[in-house]
């Protein structure tokens, strides 16, 4: 990685446990991302994904380690790092325009009303909510609410967009449409994005690199999976790509079995130099991975192996 736009350096989160001692949610978490990259974290509940995101956002503080963004250590929250919340977190007493304008005025205090409105309107148009500016959040569907959340996050032109399972509360159809929108916007604007998800297909479609976390407590970053699919992939023919199932099986296998056993099977795992895997391209598997995972990486390239 040449350009370390975001560098997470050895962060850990520990809580005092009941009856003395400490519980470690995750530790020695090293990660770096380039400018304009889309990163997805996948892991089971309780592995500390949301805590990692909150630390990146500045809403939470790590027990150890630091996060450096664009050459500066982060301290608290910042307008450079916008968050799209799982529950959209719109202010219900404000209209769509009011919610976006609130973010805009927070970033540019000296702007007059007309300028704020024009700027907010631009981002409402971008997420396809033209005509709903004066509706209140209670009048919107779940998908539209999350669009407002996206517009609000984008309107402050952040360096990074942080998303905490932004589409998990939506139905499959709406989720698909919004994934398309987010992908389009991120590609068009070169937005750096960091997203937490449970959804393997969402990660494959959106992410350039997928970060796999083992189960907590004591979770670690196990692997970085580079997405072998082309940058101009479309939702419709995603699953026809020769590497798709290799990639998908690799991630699913990790979630189903290896996330539990990873720590025991890889005693020499170095959290600073996490193995980078590129499923479907065996020659590019850099680090030593265990036997069964290599098998998982190379199923029949064109057909899914449904029976095993």
């Amino acid at each position: 990685m040449t350009d370390k736009f975001i560098s997470v350096e050895g962060i850990a989160k520990r809580y005092p446990a009941v009856g003395g001692g400490t519980t470690t949610v995750f530790e020695s978490f090293w990660l770096s991302m380039a400018r304009g990259e889309f990163g997805c974290v996948i892991g089971h509940s309780g592995c500390g994904k949301t805590t990692v995101l909150n630390i990146l956002a500045g809403l939470d503080e790590p027990s150890e380690g630091t996060v450096i963004v664009d050459g500066q250590g982060i301290e608290g929250t910042s307008l450079d790092r916008a968050v799209i919340f799982q529950s959209h977190a719109l202010l219900p007493w404000r209209t769509v325009l009011g919610n976006v304008a609130y973010a805009v005025t927070s970033k540019w205090r000296s702007w007059d009303r007309a300028k704020v409105k024009a700027h907010a309107q631009k981002f409402i148009d971008l997420v396809g909510l033209t005509g709903s500016e004066h509706k209140r959040p209670s009048e919107l569907s779940g998908g539209m609410k999350q669009r407002v959340g996206i517009a609000r996050a984008l309107s402050i032109t952040p360096k990074i967009m942080l998303m905490d399972e932004p589409f998990s509360a939506l139905d499959a159809l709406t989720r698909g449409t919004l994934q398309d929108e987010v992908r389009r916007i991120c590609l068009e604007t070169g937005q750096t994005a960091f997203m937490i998800t449970h959804d393997v297909d969402e990660a494959i479609y959106l992410a350039d690199r997928i970060f796999l976390m083992t189960n907590g407590p004591g979770a670690v970053l196990a692997e970085v999976v580079e997405n072998p699919l082309p940058k101009d992939r479309g939702r419709i023919d995603l699953h026809r790509h020769p590497y798709y199932y290799a990639l998908r099986n690799h991630i699913v296998d990790f979630l189903v079995s290896r996330s539990k056993t990873f720590a025991a099977e890889n005693p020499t795992h170095d959290p600073r130099h996490v193995p980078v895997v590129r499923p479907g391209k065996p020659e590019l598997v850099i680090a030593a991975v265990s036997e069964d995972s290599q098998q998982a990486s190379w199923p029949g390239l064109s057909r899914p192996s449904t029976s095993s």
């Binding site: 307008l79 919340f85 529950s87 977190a89 202010l91 219900p92 007493w93 209670s138």
Partner: protein, 279 residues
């Protein structure tokens, strides 16, 4: 459907009211036998003894008296004979002043308690002890320290309306959704701006509910307080008319206390609806 329900409810209300008036009228008819007495003695006695009339006025007597009051609400014939409008204005003025002072104390203090767990824990024992004290128990202390009966009444209104507002404000502020606070934090909104743009609108329905409870209590307490301090006000009027044995006036006062209390509640209810947001 709804309009027909409302219509039927209105009919039932009217029927109930008519039944009440009818029973009242029958119950206060002239029934008792008239005792035989000398005319000189009869002059000393009221109509109860001389004409067998019930001391309890009938609805017609009260209606006539009420009409008299409504025609001249603001006359002033000296300390013990003022129009009902003036008496009510005194009471509403005292309630308004005491209540307003309570608003200015309770809401900022409630904000502090709601935002700071330290202050919340530190003030909790005081609030727990002071809250259940009957506001009238403060009256002697207020009279002794303030040495002015009218200001003492205002103080009593203040002390009784401060608690519901304080506790509701603290609760509303403390239970603002974490995610809304996080939105403000990620947007680097300062503490003061956050208090006004996120916490205040989010807690406003709870605060207004507390204010509505408070105005109800204040209106309950003012009648008792004015009976004690005397001089002016609807509470004093009730007691004065009791001493005059004018049950008609007492009934009219009771009716007006109810109407004014309802209006005060409706005003606060309207404010509450204005700040309530659908989720």
């Amino acid at each position: 459907m709804t309009s027909s329900l409302r219509f039927r409810a209105a009919i039932v209300s009217v029927v109930l009211f008519a039944a009440f008036i009818g029973i009242w009228h029958l119950a206060t008819r002239q029934t008792a036998s008239v005792a035989n007495m000398s005319p000189e003695y009869a002059k000393l006695m009221g109509v109860t003894a001389t004409q067998g009339k019930s001391a309890m006025p009938g609805p017609a007597d009260v209606g006539a008296k009420l009409w008299e009051h409504l025609k001249r609400p603001f006359y002033d014939n000296g300390p013990n004979d003022k129009g009902l409008g003036i008496q009510l204005a005194y009471s509403i003025g005292r309630v308004g002043l005491g209540y307003l002072i309570a608003v200015f104390v309770a809401i900022p203090l409630g904000f502090m308690i709601g935002m700071s767990p330290l202050i919340s824990k530190a003030l909790d024992p005081f609030i727990q002890v002071l809250k259940p004290i009957s506001p009238l128990a403060w009256m002697p202390l207020a009279l002794y320290t303030i040495k002015d009966s009218s200001i003492s009444a205002i103080f009593v209104i203040f002390i009784c309306s401060v608690w519901p507002m304080l506790l509701n404000t603290a609760f509303g502020v403390a239970s603002v959704r974490k995610e809304w606070i996080n939105v403000a934090r990620t947007l680097e909104v300062g503490t003061i701006r956050r208090a006004f743009t996120v916490i205040l609108p989010a807690a406003a329905p709870t605060i207004l509910t507390g204010m509505r409870i408070s105005i109800g209590i204040a209106w309950l307490v003012i009648v008792a307080a004015e009976m004690l301090v005397g001089g002016t006000g609807i509470g004093y009027f009730v007691w004065n008319e009791w001493n005059n044995l004018s049950i008609s006036n007492v009934i009219i006062a009771i009716l007006l206390i109810g109407v004014v209390g309802m209006l005060l509640d409706q005003v606060l209810a309207r404010f509450t609806r204005m700040v309530t947001f659908p989720e």
